[in-house]
Symmetry: D2
Subunit: 175 residues, 4 copies
C-alpha cells in the first residue's frame, strides 16, 4: 500500500519494482521478409520512456515466448524469478492465451509480494495496441493492491483464482 | 478498495466510474489550416476502445480548456461535478500546467470518493504520447486507492497536498 | 504525360485514374482473437484521405489475396479489369511476392495505358509501413510515365520485363 | 526521363538525387515542456528508411524555417543551392504557406534540372500526416518529369507558374 497509509511520505522510501518480460503478443513484431510475427528485443524500455514513467523500476527479460508454447518448466522459471527477486512489487508481461495458468502457478506459492500479470491483444508495435494502457494499469495496481497475485487486463484487476479468458471476446472476466 | 477485501466477489456489484474531461494537452489536436493546436471533441471514447477497457465507465466532457487559462470558476465547476456525480470513483483528465491547483480545490472539499486527476505531456493524437499509459494508470488507481484526491502522472500517484509539477523536467514530484 | 507538354493546361481535362486493389501485405490486418494476419476491407480510401489526395481517382477492390496464393486465373482477372477500365492511368496494389509475375501477364497484353503496380513490405495498419510512400510514388508515376506496365517500389520505377524481387533483401531490383 | 526512353537500362547510370530540406510543417515537432511546435533535426532520413527508399539520394539541411518567416534572402539561398548542386533531380521540402513564392524564384532562373517542391499539411511526427505520401510523390515526379520547376502536393504536380495555394481548403490548385 502507498506509504502514506501509516503517515509516511510516499517518496521517502520509493518501493523498487521489477517488470519480468516473458513475451506474448505484447512484444511481437512483424518480420517483413518472412511475412510473419516474431520476437526480437523487448519494447518495454521504449514504452516506459513513452509513458514518461518515473518509477524506480528495472526490466528483466526472462524469455520471449508465445504463451501457447509455454511449458510447466517455463512457468516454474517465472515463479522462481518472482520468489528470488528483491522487489515486492512485480509486473509480468505475458501472452494472454495462458496467462491464467501462469497466474495459478504463482498464486499458490507466492507470499508477501504484489504480482500483477498483464499483456496485450495487439502487439505494441502495431499501432492500435492496448499495450501502453495495460502497462500503466498494471504498474499502478502493483503499487496499490495488497500482497497477492493478480491479472490486470481491460482496465480491471482480477485475483488469480477467480479469472478466466473469454476467448471468443478476447477479454478477461471473473470466473 | 476492490470488494474482495471483505469476501465479496469483485464483479458482483461492479463500481461505476466516471471520467470527467476538462481538456488539456491530453485532447489537443493540430489544426492544419491555421498551423496551431486546438480542441475539437474528446478522444476518450477512442482511447477506452483502444485499451479494450471493460470497466463500467461513462465519459462526461465538462469543458475543453488549456489549464493555463482555467479560472477559479472553472475549477468550481469541476468540484461541483465531482460532488454531484453518483460515481464514487472519478478520473479527471486535465492540463498538467495547473493540475495541482485543481487538485487542491478538490482535496479540501471532497469526501467519500476516490478522485484521480491525470493528463498528458504530448497530445494523444500526436503519436508518441503518454496519454494511454496515464489513462490506464489513473483508472487503476481510481479503483484501488482509498477515498481522497490524487494526481496520477509518470506512473505514480501523489496525494493532492504533497505534489508539485517540476516545469523544467515536465514531471510531477512530491512536494 | 502531363498535358502541358503540348500546351494544354494540366487541369483542363484532369485524367481520371483507377486504383485496383488485389490485397497483399498492403492491406493486411492483425486479428487479435486468432493472433494471425488477415484481410478485412481495403484501407485505400483512408490512405488517400491521409495523403490529402486531390486526384480524380476511384478505388475498386477486385480481390483481397496474399499474392503467394494467386493463380493464373486471378492474374487474368486483373488483366481483364485493366483492359476494360475506361481510365488510362491505373495503379494496382498487390502483394510483393508475385508482383513481377502479374506485371509480366499485364505487360505482354496491355497497350495504350500506364499501369503501375505497387505494394508494401509492412502492412499499412502496422505503423512503420512503406505503404503511404509507395502509394504516393505509384500515383505520381502513373501520371507521368508513358504507356506501359511498371512496378513502383522503393521509390523507383521498373519496366515489367526488367525487374525482379530480391527476396533476401526484401527489395526490388533491375533484372 | 527514365533512361529507357533511349534504349539504356534504367539502373546502368542511376541518376543521383538530392533532397534539400528547408523546414516547414513537414519537419515540425511538439515541444512538450513549452507546449509549442518547433524544429529540431530533419526526419527525412527516418522517412526514407521507412519508405524503404532505394534511390541514390543525399539529404542536405539548408535551413529549418516556417515558410511564413522566409525572406527573399532565404529563397536566394535555396536558388543558389539548386544551381550549384551536381544533381539534376532535386526535391525541396518546404513550408506550404509560401511554397509558391519560392517556386517562382526558382522557376525563373533554373535550367536543365527537374526541381520538385513538396511539403506537408500535418507534421510527419504527428501520425496522421501526408508527409510520407508527398515524399514518395515528389521523388517519383523528380525522376520522371522533364526539366522544370514543379510543386507536388495532394498527389498532383503543378508547374511553378500555374499554381496557387487555396488557404481555406489547405490544398494546391491550378491558377
Amino acid at each position: 500500500m502507498p506509504s502514506w497509509s501509516n503517515g509516511k511520505r510516499y517518496n521517502a522510501r520509493p518501493d523498487p519494482m521489477i517488470i519480468i518480460v516473458t513475451g506474448g503478443t505484447f512484444d511481437k513484431e512483424y518480420n517483413e521478409l518472412a511475412g510473419k510475427l516474431f520476437f526480437k528485443k523487448t519494447h518495454l524500455h521504449e514504452m516506459l520512456e513513452l509513458g514518461r514513467c518515473g518509477l524506480n523500476v528495472r526490466v528483466k527479460t526472462l524469455m520471449m515466448i508465445d504463451s501457447l508454447h509455454m511449458t510447466s518448466r517455463d512457468r516454474k522459471r517465472i515463479l522462481d524469478e518472482c520468489i528470488k527477486s528483491a522487489e515486492k512489487q512485480i509486473v509480468i508481461t505475458h501472452g494472454t492465451d495462458t496467462m491464467v495458468e501462469t497466474a495459478q502457478v504463482l498464486g499458490r506459492k507466492i507470499k508477501g509480494k504484489t504480482v500483477v500479470l498483464t499483456g496485450a491483444m495487439v502487439p505494441y508495435k502495431f499501432g492500435s495496441s492496448d499495450g501502453m494502457f495495460n502497462l500503466g494499469s498494471a504498474l499502478s495496481f502493483a503499487q496499490s493492491l495488497p500482497s497477492g497475485v493478480y491479472i490486470a487486463m481491460n482496465g480491471k484487476c482480477f485475483r488469480w483464482n477467480t479469472v478466466k479468458k473469454n476467448k471468443s471476446k478476447g477479454e478477461f472476466e471473473e470466473s
